[in-house]
Amino acid sequence: MRALASLALIFGGISLVAIGGANTAVPAMQLAVVDQDHFMSAAEFTRLFALAQAAPGPNLLVVTLCGWWVAGVAGALVATLAFLLPACCLAYAAGRVWTRFRDARWRRVVQDGLVPVSAGLMLAAAAVIVGGAVTGWRGLVVAGVVLAASLGVKRHPLWWLAGSAVAGLAGFY
């Protein structure tokens, strides 16, 4: 019960500061579930993030998996709902008044001003995930190849994920 309550608090709080998409909140999630509540290790968080990427659906599935790790299916549902509810309520309200502020100058300025913040948060998310995943030269090579391939070749990201999973498997044999 306490675990469910803390999941609700963690992800409910993060919901409204995920500026520019769910992945910008990855550093906040990791800080909360790894460093503050010690629910899992940094490596485990990164593995859950990777599993979420391998499933279809919106980016927020890492939230579902964090909840599952902490408290099973109930935890998964609580974390997902907590993450969705505040932002969705805000979206519902904003959608109703959007036409009133769509063309306002402050809207443009606020939106422009938030772009560097969300870019910085995405870079931080990448730093957190890379830090949790890449140990040793093999991981560095796989991550580097995927990075270069993804930037250089237009292909569905699932191909690169599948390739890296096969590379990991090959490293075992």
Partner: protein, 199 residues
Amino acid sequence: MRLWGTGVGCNAGKAVWVDRVTAEKPTVARVFWAFFRAGIAGFGGVLPMARHELVVRQGWLTAAEFSDLFALCQFLPGANVANLSVIYGARVAGVAGAVAGIVGLTAAPVAAVLGLAVLYGRYGALPPVRHLVAGLSDGAAGLILATALRIAWPLRASAWGVVVAAAVCLAVGVLRLPFLACVAVFAPVSVALAWRGAA
């Protein structure tokens, strides 16, 4: 203006062929199924699939209307596509439409990822699975780094943008300072800088 039931959508004055003719007005059930299909079809980002459903397949929105809707979703916190499903659903049928949109979008992916989680929980300790997931993690790390660089790259034209992004990355990603405090400090500063630049 657009007509349901035509094979041609109107996009900035140009006729665009759509891959499926629909004569159906959006209802709660149809909003649910449209976002359901977008959710299960989208790997690594559902947004293109949601656009395909609403603009191309169903013809409920024009390309311009979708872009306007998406601008609002980017403006709001949280998962962009989740916000989109709520706002579009609400436009169609109020609270019921909003719930249909978000539940349609998330139900199947949440179930799928939980299925994956159960498999991982059961077999994750086996050495081959461990190696597979380790490789997957390295790949996911490379992918998110690529996404972050792609988002950050257009900022290079503005000096203050680069400084803010670097400071946020340092504070949140490297120094691991409290996230809420960082956003509370950097967001207003960044907006103020944008305001100065726009003035």
